[in-house]
Subunit: 339 residues, 2 copies
């Protein structure tokens, strides 16, 4: 990986701050999947700025909601570099720079043309185009090919928690939702299934994933349906719950006080009980450690992906905020995701 430079980091952003603000101690937070790719860049910085103390945070950095601002404060860092995500919330720690990590991979024209043949064979004429931030550099390249082959391509305006038109993140598909009524399907540029499945759950339209890592495409609509049926099973199992565990995010970027208040109000209005728990990194083991016998189901307000991606095997149903609202209001017809 190292020599192929799979990611280009916006090192110039860090350097301009190093020159202007002259920080002495820098905490660097990088998603686990990018940590080792970043070490070459780190060595360049260390070589050029020998007096500066660079500390790599081992935090998993799931998103910019997970910003290590407490850690930066505790370590007396005068700059926090957050790599790989765009700003999600306004942190209390004032000296934060968000540094892009852009993939250098480019899907082949041939493969994209195969994708186009596939969607046309399905009668799809208008598509929404979205992407995760590391593939931003190739969005126009992909869009142009799609349009050359006379597909109508819509890219939703930025809003909510994202910074760029067409950008999606694990918990915010609002750019795609904006164009949802005008398209037959969504094409999303991303690796893995995480974002593509989220997009499917948020839009309920066919989703075709264009994967730069494997240079391939995949219609994941059936996978989304499978996920959806699992989610409805959790919802159904929660309908008789008498007492809920409400999980509150322990980090500022995941502490959603208005949402928590709203859910508690719904719980109380239905004459049900609840218990509040806070969590930083929430896993099945953490849930097992806090679980009370008298709790029938959990709702997670910190991150709507945890119930779906990490907590599905827990013995009791664990709901996203959207699912919790469905259960508590009794509006089960439309799957509500993520919030």
């Amino acid at each position: 990986m190292g020599k192929n430079k799979p990611y280009i980091f916006e090192i110039e952003k860090i350097e301009s701050i190093l020159k202007e603000r002259k920080p002495k101690k820098i905490l660097i937070q990088i998603p686990d999947g990018l940590k080792k790719s970043f070490y070459n860049t780190l060595d360049v910085l260390k070589e050029k700025y020998g007096n500066v103390e660079f500390i790599i945070s081992s935090d998993p950095a799931y998103g910019a909601c997970f910003l290590a601002e407490n850690e930066a404060l505790n370590l007396n860092a005068d700059l926090l570099v957050h790599v790989g995500h765009t700003e999600y919330y306004r942190p209390s720690f004032s000296n934060v720079v968000y540094v892009g990590a852009y993939s250098t991979l480019k899907p082949s024209t041939d493969m994209i043309r195969s994708l186009i043949s596939y969607v046309k064979s399905k009668g799809i004429e208008k598509v929404g185009l979205s992407y995760v931030i590391q593939h931003k550099p190739i969005v126009n390249y992909v869009k142009n090919i799609l349009e050359q082959e006379s597909l109508r391509v819509l890219i939703g305006k930025k809003s909510g928690y994202v910074k760029y038109d067409g950008q999606i993140i694990g918990c915010d598909y609002s750019t795609a939702v904006k164009v949802n009524n005008y398209v037959d399907a969504h094409i999303v540029i991303c690796g893995g299934y995480f974002h593509a499945i989220g997009l499917g759950l948020a839009t309920m339209k066919p989703v075709i994933k264009l994967d730069p890592y494997t240079n391939s495409f995949e219609d994941i609509s059936k996978t989304v349906k499978r996920y959806l049926s699992v989610r409805y099973a959790k919802i159904m199992r929660s309908l008789d719950a008498k007492k809920y565990g409400v999980i509150v995010g322990a980090r500022k970027g995941q502490y959603r006080s208005e949402l928590i208040k709203f859910l508690i109000k719904l719980i109380k209005s239905r004459g049900l009980e609840y218990e509040l728990f806070s969590a930083d990194i929430l896993t099945i083991d953490v849930l097992r450690n806090i679980d009370r016998d008298d709790i029938d189901a959990y709702m997670v307000t910190s991150c709507p992906r945890l119930p779906i991606d990490d907590l599905g095997e827990f013995e009791k149903p664990v709901l996203t905020p959207g699912e919790a609202i469905m259960v508590l209001t009794g509006n089960l017809d439309k799957y509500r995701f993520p919030w």
Copy 2:
């Protein structure tokens, strides 16, 4: 467990604050092993103080060094209740109450007499007596029986990170070390092996564990020797290291800036290289995620127990602060623990 009340919690401490300071939102941090025992107490509090919001933190609460003060701030809590440990450092968050959790278990007189026969058979006449905080209520009971059978019992004065005479914690055995020159062996009241092994490594004297949970005693001196030989193997494998990974604690109570400076100075004075990493909950998986090929060994400054208890299986040697100092100064004769 619930009905037997294995632990008595100092609920009156919480109640007096509830009456005086009238907090509205309370974050409660409890070690994983005590969480479920605490829920009865929580229910009593919730029943009596219906207007107060109680949030149970899912934090593992390994010690008072791990105080969830950032979490309390992030959640706008006006009181942080830390259960099961005594104060370790002066936190920035001002409203913290340390609530004792005392075991109700009492080893039988017969069993303690068997222990006395055993130590006498070994020619031991003078013993140091120490304990972990949850067994504080039975210390005098045990001491009296030991003295009745004409053992000389020494309890070291409080110092360092502990609050009571004779108390030990995972990273501080100074009470026992104080009496070490005057005793033939140590008796420690605790469950499990964690504290007993630490005591052995810190004192290098025979350690007999008196376990209230199993109502039994065990001479763990051989186990300590086994641990010691593993530790020396790690030390030996680190002697040729060219580059170290230095792990810095991400929480205030585990961020030891003076120790870090001292180790870096030693590293530099020997012409070696290093890389700084910060960690909150440090596991082997976390180490694997941050590991660089060019790092030969790690030193952990956050918690001296992690290398011994949690990171022994990591592919590269991981040293405690004391071991790091041994390696960097070349003073290998005396095992230095914990700091």
